[in-house]
């Protein structure tokens, strides 16, 4: 098995594990961890594709993915902190403030 196929397999498995984490976790911080796994899988894919096709675009987009993942983590954690202050819970299935 070539290096490319092996890394793509790792990336697929990482993505699926992230989806599993999102589907099963109840804690909002746990959801964020799973989202980080998914974003890492996509960045790894971009880098591998960039290497295979000898194109710089892959690395550029992986950089953007990493920067936007940092934004997502910051905003997500701010929301979780506010949630813990106002709703006294960070379990995603107990947050029903917007329920009519």
């Amino acid at each position: 098995m070539s290096l490319v196929r092996a890394l793509l397999l790792v990336s697929c498995a990482l993505f699926s594990l992230g989806v599993y984490g999102i589907l099963t976790r109840r804690n909002a911080v746990g959801l964020l961890l799973a989202v980080e796994l998914i974003l890492n899988a996509s960045a790894l894919n971009f880098v591998v594709f960039g290497r295979v096709f000898g194109d710089v675009h892959g690395q550029v987009f992986a950089l953007f993915v990493i920067a936007l993942a940092a934004c997502e983590a910051v905003v997500g954690l701010a929301i979780i902190l506010t949630l813990s202050r106002t709703a006294r819970t960070i379990l995603a299935d107990q947050v029903n403030l917007l329920k009519g």
Binding site: L3, V4, R5, L7, L8, L9, V10, C12, A13, L14, F15, S16, L17, G18, V19, Y20, L23, T24, R25, R26, N27, V29, G30, L32, L33, A34, E36, L37, N40, L44, V47, G50, R51, V52, F53, G54, V56, Q59, V60, A62, I66, A67, A69, A70, C71, E72, A73, V74, V75, L77, A78, I79, I80, L81, T82, S84, R85, R88, T89, L91
Partner: protein
């Protein structure tokens, strides 16, 4: 002295085991702090994968931004919300079986799709760092600036969100 190809195979296998083992821990451990530490293992493993495909700059960015900043933030959040999390409130997970079926099916689909394609051999020369920097400030200058703007907006917005609520200034 091992031949280079065998060495690459062994390294790839070890890295894959490290990354996937860490990822399984991230999604299954019920102690969130330990899950976050396992996420650190996964992030370092992915950085090593970047090194394996000769994307050194990306590996450094990954370690600097992810392991240095994002992981620290997550650990902070876990510690700040620890008092709420400790209250017993039902199982830590839900719908485990169904989620396992869905994610396994997704993995099978993705794996079959990517493995059956004919991939060309990677180019001999890796992309030089100079090209990446030049492209970032010429072809990709607009997305680059937009990303900086998004970063500033996210930081200011999250500070405004998470700052402790202050009483409104007295009106005259």
């Amino acid at each position: 002295m091992l031949p280079a190809e065998l060495l690459t195979t062994i390294t790839t296998l070890a890295l894959a085991l490290l990354v996937l083992g860490g990822a399984v821990c991230v999604v299954t451990l019920s102690n969130l702090f330990r899950a976050a530490l396992c996420l650190g293992v996964v992030l370092v493993g992915v950085a090593a994968c970047f090194l394996l495909v000769q994307a050194e700059f990306l590996a450094f960015v990954q370690i600097l931004v992810y392991v240095g900043a994002v992981l620290t933030l997550i650990v902070f959040a876990i510690m700040l919300t620890a008092r709420i999390t400790e209250q017993p409130s039902g199982p830590a997970r839900r719908q485990g079986g169904l989620a396992a079926v869905v994610s396994l099916a997704l993995f099978a689909l993705l794996a079959v799709t990517t493995q059956t394609l004919a991939w060309p051999q990677p180019a001999q020369e890796p992309i030089p760092l100079g090209t990446l920097g030049q492209q970032l400030v010429t072809t990709f200058v607009l997305p680059f600036e937009v990303v900086s703007l998004v970063l500033v907006a996210a930081l200011v917005g999250s500070v405004a969100l998470a700052a402790s609520p202050r009483r409104a200034p007295p009106t005259r």
